[in-house]
Symmetry: C2
Subunit: 121 residues, 2 copies
DNA sequence: GCACTAATGCACTTCCATTGCATGCGTTAA
DNA sequence: TTAACGCATGCAATGGAAGTGCATTAGTGC
């Protein structure tokens, strides 16, 4: 089961919602998928993405994806056209300056727009 | 009613959830507050913030807060300690580079950590 | 006062995230 | 061989937030 879910995530190049997984595995129960994902999260196999659609998505952690590190520098791109969210691990987030007294531990950056597939390039 | 809500938002220096407003106005109905906020949003009086807690928050737009512009460069700080989210309008977001084929329309940047109140400075 | 519009309140629905409880299955220990 | 245990799975139910339809009330202009 977990292997199947892992492969599903590996094939998908985009972040998926729980519903996506649910639809892909009709046989399995919501709860199982949910808990599997949670397990993956704990083991730092996948990471959670909040792209502003209100639905949490998940994506496999790749090389260079240091989710476990506190100063996580993730960049996610959400397409307003196809509604897909991709993980741009190659693009690092520039250092963000915060005012005095503030301590930065984590940065979440979501860029919205049109993705490469939809823009036609 | 709307004036009361406006004043409430003005007093608060942090972004608030619908529940926060609801608690502050026991007399009023949820729907009224909800629709009032929506109206404010349309009129660009407040803007919505998604700080990753899963609950959408709202904050007054200030001078220099160009929510209405597509290339909205907002920086929000979410404190992991007191769970409050503040709007750092003074801090602009640096230009984000996206890969070829991607078109950036909107940027959402949330920094998490410890705020000035909680860090003791 | 009358009519019209805007604002408010109530009830209901939907959607997603999460949890409690029961079941099944494989492994270990008596 | 069997009893006990841990773990994965499934079903059902809960809770919280967002959103909507409809009736009622409050204003506003005439």
């Amino acid at each position: 089961m977990r292997l199947l879910i892992y492969r599903f995530l590996a094939e998908k190049q985009v972040a998926v919602t729980l519903s996506d997984i649910e639809n892909a595995f009709d046989k399995a129960d919501r709860t199982t998928l949910y808990r599997t994902i949670k397990t993956f999260e704990e083991k730092a196999i996948v990471h959670q993405i909040d792209d502003g659609t209100g639905i949490t998505k998940y994506a496999l952690c790749e090389k260079g994806c240091n989710c476990e590190i506190e100063t996580d520098l993730h960049l996610h791109f959400h397409c307003n056209n196809c509604n897909e969210t991709v993980c741009l691990t190659a693009h690092k987030i520039p250092q963000i300056k915060v005012p005095k007294g503030f301590v930065s531990e984590n940065v979440n950056l979501v860029v919205k727009g049109i993705c490469d597939k939809c823009s036609g390039h």
